[in-house]
C-alpha cells in the first residue's frame, strides 16, 4: 500500500509522458498535411481570403506550423531536465526551444492572432496567448543566464504550459464538438480561451503550492 502511494508521482509522470507522446504524434500528422507545400489545404481551405489579400500571410503561417512542431519536441525534452548521457543536452535543447519561440513561433503566432477565426473574442485571446508565450519564455531565458535556476524552472513551466495549449486546445475542441455540436466558429471562440487559461492556472497553483 505504501509502495503504491509513494509511486503515484512516478506513475503520473509516466502517464503524462505517454499522453504527450500520443498527442505529439497527432500534431506531427497535422503538420505533415502541409507538406508538400500547398496553399489551399487543410486549415488553409477556409483561409483563402487572407492568403489572397495578404501576401505575407502564408510566410507567417508556415513559419508557425513548421517551427511549432520542433518547439513542442524541444520543450518536452528540455522540461525532463535530463542530459541522457549527452553533454549539455538540457542546455542546448533548451536554447533551441527558447530561440524558436522568441524569434519565430511566437511572433508568427501573434501575427496570425490578428486574423484568427471566430471574430474579436478569438483574436484577443490568441494575441494575449502569443504575447504571454513570448514573455514567459524570455523571462525564463533571462533567469537561466542569471543562474537563478529555481525561478528559471518556474517560468519555464509557465512557458511550456502555454506551448501545450496547442494540444489542449485541440483536445477541448474534440470534447466540445462531441458533447454539444456547436457551430464551427462558436467552437473556435470557446477553445481560444479554454486552450490556455486552465493550463496556466494549473501551473500557478502548483507554483503556489511549492510543487514546482
Amino acid at each position: 500500500m505504501f509502495a503504491i502511494k509513494k509511486n503515484i508521482p512516478l506513475l503520473l509522470k509516466i502517464l503524462l509522458i505517454f499522453g504527450f507522446e500520443y498527442f505529439f504524434w497527432l500534431m506531427l500528422k497535422i503538420t505533415l498535411e502541409y507538406i508538400p507545400f500547398n496553399p489551399d489545404v487543410s486549415f488553409l481551405m477556409i483561409k483563402q481570403t487572407e492568403v489572397q489579400d495578404r501576401p505575407e500571410y502564408l510566410s507567417f503561417f508556415y513559419t508557425h506550423v513548421y517551427t511549432s512542431i520542433f518547439v513542442l519536441l524541444s520543450g518536452f525534452l528540455a522540461i525532463l531536465r535530463k542530459n541522457f548521457g549527452i553533454k549539455n543536452f538540457h542546455r542546448n535543447i533548451g536554447k533551441v526551444y527558447i530561440f524558436l519561440i522568441l524569434i519565430l513561433a511566437a511572433p508568427s503566432g501573434i501575427y496570425m492572432g490578428f486574423f484568427a477565426n471566430g471574430g474579436f473574442l478569438s483574436k484577443i485571446s490568441f494575441i494575449i496567448l502569443g504575447s504571454l508565450w513570448w514573455f514567459t519564455t524570455y523571462k525564463a531565458y533571462q533567469l537561466a543566464r542569471q543562474k537563478r535556476f529555481k525561478e528559471h524552472k518556474q517560468w519555464m513551466w509557465r512557458s511550456f504550459a502555454l506551448t501545450l495549449s496547442a494540444l489542449t486546445l485541440r483536445i477541448w475542441k474534440v470534447i466540445i464538438v462531441y458533447l454539444f455540436h456547436p457551430n464551427p466558429m462558436d467552437v473556435y471562440q470557446i477553445i481560444a480561451w479554454l486552450g490556455w487559461i486552465p493550463n496556466i492556472l494549473l501551473i500557478e497553483y502548483l507554483i503556489a503550492k511549492k510543487h514546482i
Binding site: F23, I30, M45, I46, Q48, T49, K173, N183, D186
Partner: protein
C-alpha cells in the same frame, strides 16, 4: 359584289388563322430551345404538346421494418419529369428523368385517343414502358419495368402536369420548409438512469441533421459569397446552399436529402442530370468556395486539429 365580299371575308379569315398559327409556332419555338431538339426535316406535328411534364411517380414496394425486420408493402412516391421533344408522324422522342437518372425514350402517339406509348432503350435495369394519356395540360397513366425482378417497384402510376422550366436566380427554399434531413440519421449511444432503481442503461438512438435559417438567407446564385459568410455554418447548410444553385438549373438529384429539400418548393423542376454548363461564372465561383468549406467541415469539424 357580293361574291367579292365573300372572297375578301374568307381571305381575311385565312390570314387571321395563319396569324394565330404563326403566334403559336414562335411560342413553341421558344420552348424547343430548352427541349434541345435537333433540326430535322421530317415534318413535326403537335408542337403544342412539346414541353416538360412534372409530377408524381408512385408505386408500391417492399419495405423492411427496421425494428423487427418484417416486410410490408409500402407506397413510395418520386418526382418524375417527362420531356416531350419531338412528335412526328410515326415517332415521339423525349426523355424521362427521375432521381438523377436521365433516360431517352422513343414511341408513338395515337392521335384519336391522345395517348402515348413510350419505350426507354432497355439497356438499363430501370428502363420500362410508359403508357400515358394526355388531357389538357396533364399526363396520366402508368409505367411498367421491362425487367420486373430488377427493380423494387415494377409498376408505377404517373400523374403529371405541364410546367415551363425557367431558370430564376431568385428562387429560394420556402421559409416554412421542413429543415430536417431525414435520410442521414446518425446513430449514437445515450445513457438513461432509472430514478427508482438507480440503474444506468445505455441505448442506441439516432439523430437527424437539421439545417439552419441560413439556407433561406444566402443565395449563391445572386451574390458573391465570402469566406466570412460561410465560416460559422454547419455542413448541411453549406450543402443546401450549394445545391440550391443546381436545383435552380433543374438538376435532378441522386441524393435523397436534396430531393426532399427541393421537392418542398413549387419551382423545382428536375430536367437534367448535368447542369454544369448552365452555371454562371459567379455561381461557379461560389460552388468552388462552398466545396472547399464542405470538405473542411467533413475533414476537420470534429477531429483533432483546427
Amino acid at each position: 359584289m357580293k361574291i367579292l365580299n365573300y372572297t375578301l371575308a374568307s381571305l381575311l379569315a385565312v390570314s387571321l388563322l395563319s396569324c394565330k398559327k404563326d403566334g403559336k409556332m414562335s411560342e413553341t419555338g421558344k420552348d424547343s430551345v430548352i427541349a434541345k431538339k435537333d433540326s430535322a426535316v421530317i415534318p413535326e406535328i403537335y408542337k403544342e404538346y412539346y414541353g416538360i411534364y412534372t409530377g408524381d411517380f408512385a408505386g408500391m414496394e417492399k419495405i423492411i421494418d427496421e425494428t423487427d425486420g418484417s416486410e410490408y408493402e409500402g407506397s413510395i412516391n418520386k418526382r418524375i419529369s417527362l420531356k416531350i421533344n419531338r412528335i412526328t408522324k410515326d415517332s415521339v422522342y423525349g426523355q424521362s428523368i427521375v432521381n438523377g437518372n436521365q433516360r431517352p425514350f422513343r414511341g408513338i402517339f395515337n392521335e384519336s385517343t391522345k395517348s402515348f406509348v413510350l419505350d426507354e432503350p432497355g439497356n438499363d435495369k430501370t428502363d420500362g414502358r410508359f403508357e400515358v394519356k394526355l388531357s389538357g395540360d396533364s399526363i396520366t397513366g402508368k409505367w411498367n419495368a421491362f425487367n420486373k425482378t430488377a427493380v423494387k417497384s415494377p409498376l408505377k402510376t404517373i400523374k403529371l402536369s405541364k410546367k415551363d422550366f425557367v431558370y430564376n436566380p431568385n428562387f429560394m427554399l420556402d421559409k416554412d420548409s421542413d429543415l430536417v434531413d431525414w435520410s442521414n440519421p446518425k446513430d449514437f449511444v445515450e445513457k438513461y438512469t432509472d430514478e427508482e432503481t438507480g440503474k444506468t442503461e445505455s441505448y442506441t438512438t439516432s439523430k437527424n441533421r437539421v439545417a439552419s435559417e441560413a439556407i433561406f438567407n444566402l443565395n449563391a446564385s445572386k451574390q458573391k459569397l465570402s469566406e466570412k459568410d460561410l465560416k460559422n455554418l454547419r455542413k448541411i447548410d453549406l450543402e443546401i446552399i450549394k445545391n440550391s444553385v443546381f436545383a435552380r438549373h433543374g438538376y435532378s438529384f441522386k441524393k435523397e436529402t436534396y430531393r426532399y429539400f427541393f421537392e418542398q418548393t413549387d419551382w423545382y423542376i428536375p430536367v437534367s442530370n448535368n447542369v454544369d454548363k448552365e452555371l454562371s461564372p459567379m455561381e461557379k465561383e461560389n460552388v468552388a468556395l462552398l466545396n472547399r468549406f464542405i470538405k473542411y467541415a467533413e475533414d476537420k469539424y470534429d477531429s483533432f486539429g483546427r
